[in-house]
Symmetry: C2
Subunit: 339 residues, 2 copies
Amino acid sequence: MTMKRRSVTIQDVAQAAGVSVSTVSRVLNAKVDVASDTQERILAVIDELGYTSNLAARSMRSRKKNLIGLVVPDIGFPYSIEIMKGVNRAIAESTFDLLVYTTGDIHKNGTALHEQHYVSLLNNSITDGLIIVASAAADFITDAPIVSVDPHVVNPNYPSVQGTNYQGALDAMNYLLSLGHRRIGFICGRPEIGSAIRRLEGYQAALKNAGMDLDETLITLGDFSAKGGYKYATQLLTLDNPPTAIFAANDQSAIGVYQAADELGVQIPNELSVVGFDNISEAKYLGLTTVDQFLADMGHIAILMLIKLINNEPLEEQIHKMPTKLVERSSCQTLTGTV
Amino acid sequence: MTMKRRSVTIQDVAQAAGVSVSTVSRVLNAKVDVASDTQERILAVIDELGYTSNLAARSMRSRKKNLIGLVVPDIGFPYSIEIMKGVNRAIAESTFDLLVYTTGDIHKNGTALHEQHYVSLLNNSITDGLIIVASAAADFITDAPIVSVDPHVVNPNYPSVQGTNYQGALDAMNYLLSLGHRRIGFICGRPEIGSAIRRLEGYQAALKNAGMDLDETLITLGDFSAKGGYKYATQLLTLDNPPTAIFAANDQSAIGVYQAADELGVQIPNELSVVGFDNISEAKYLGLTTVDQFLADMGHIAILMLIKLINNEPLEEQIHKMPTKLVERSSCQTLTGTV
DNA sequence: TTGAAAGCGCTAACAG
DNA sequence: CTGTTAGCGCTTTCAA
């Protein structure tokens, strides 16, 4: 590790090259009005001294930072990972660098405050713009643009990319109905999150469309966790008249369902069909890639939108509808976005 | 979204509170020598104006930035995620904020350059120190301390936290041997990475210790990917005299083994035992948590080491040995670290 | 084509 | 306890 006590500054480079700092700065910023031999000499010195421009100083002085920030909730969720992948891909194709901040455990309180803290910290100083994933906070203080991905509550004041949760739930339910199921259980997500509610509404609408009655005992609480899924699946499967299929609000819940079924000796998929929304873990385990792609695309779209905002280009409203694909014991996810 | 054209500065706060900037600065940095009524007034103004300190300006002026950087390879790997979790946990218990940078696809070239770019960019400006996970680069130019987690090649010039790959492989093999297996296949990791080699050495040593001959046809190439695992498992399982057990170099490879076995109609674990190093995906799928913990602890330890370095405290050499736990079809991971 | 000089927002002496 | 002042490293006028 080459560890110097004081880093080499633009001053050092200027002195070594026998020019002024402003000339070095011009070279660094690829300005054209520099004599080519001067330029070469400076570049050589930069290389020799191992100079890197100081991010802080640069950010402070100039408006463009070439840096985009991504604020994601608990990275333990495959959901976050997949979005990050799409973001990474889009960043790689751009001229921006990416910094990621995680707000920690999504189930803990104070997430909204954490988010706001980071937004202020970053967007008022070193980043040109920010993507916020699954934000709990509804409002932010910021100078630079923000694009929100799957916010808990949609705020029409700023652009967002959202999964088509309602349609996805309809698709999943229609799939189960087409298999002949008439008693389908539903394990809900965290009720304060809009997407969980829209999935529930999709569940209810599908039953209604099929002309079936709603059995309230088949709808349970839930919290997007495997533990919750296990608890509520056990509840459903030990009913006097248990469901023949379960639609879980997300992949973690679905894992809990598998565990509960296993423990109770219920065979999947022979005795019980299971569909989980966002069923990433399983898809990955089974070597499927379709589901991941939806989320990655959300991240990708969000970055493209953000870059347009940063460049002051207009956003055209646009529906980005992903094809739906269902696999046994797995699920579907569709999304819309404005680019 | 509250979006102002120019952010409120410490100047604005000072003016509004009728004090000087330095007094505001003192309050911001929790200095004690400020009259409590002055402090209250300033805090009220800060709150009212929605002031947030400019990260760039602060970083530039003061040595302490309260920010730690984490550079991880491809976030698609559960390995990276688990380490990030441990890091997050340690950060939450500290006074530091965390910023993450990912170098993208681990299999792509140029990773080392990417790493060096970010180390210079961050560590010479806005971070107090950096954790680098699975670094491909061996050397860095940096002002602030670095702690390396599982570097490809260990550089004795700077502190590192490393998994006990050799011992872990021994444990995994002894487990398979204790099950009575005498023909055990090995699917290697990327050979340019030190940990892959140490796992191979553990495999070989275990056989030697058991007084068994080494059958070269049972050792295949590999690349830490499911695709590679599938390919080489197929190769092993279609041998004239196929192995009764396979030890895969990581969890991705193991997934490939399951796929290959499934396709060839080989029953696991009845006809074939499989152990995968770092078997995170499966452990998670099966609801196990032990394996994750090892990696998270590596991240945790790394942060504790880094904070000591930042505070100029000495590092004591210390072996942190995790208990070994083996589960059928899954694996073990132990680690050591200096804190 | 280049250099001198003015700050960006902030912290840290140094005085009072 | 508080204000004045001097920069941190960089970009950007404005002159030369």
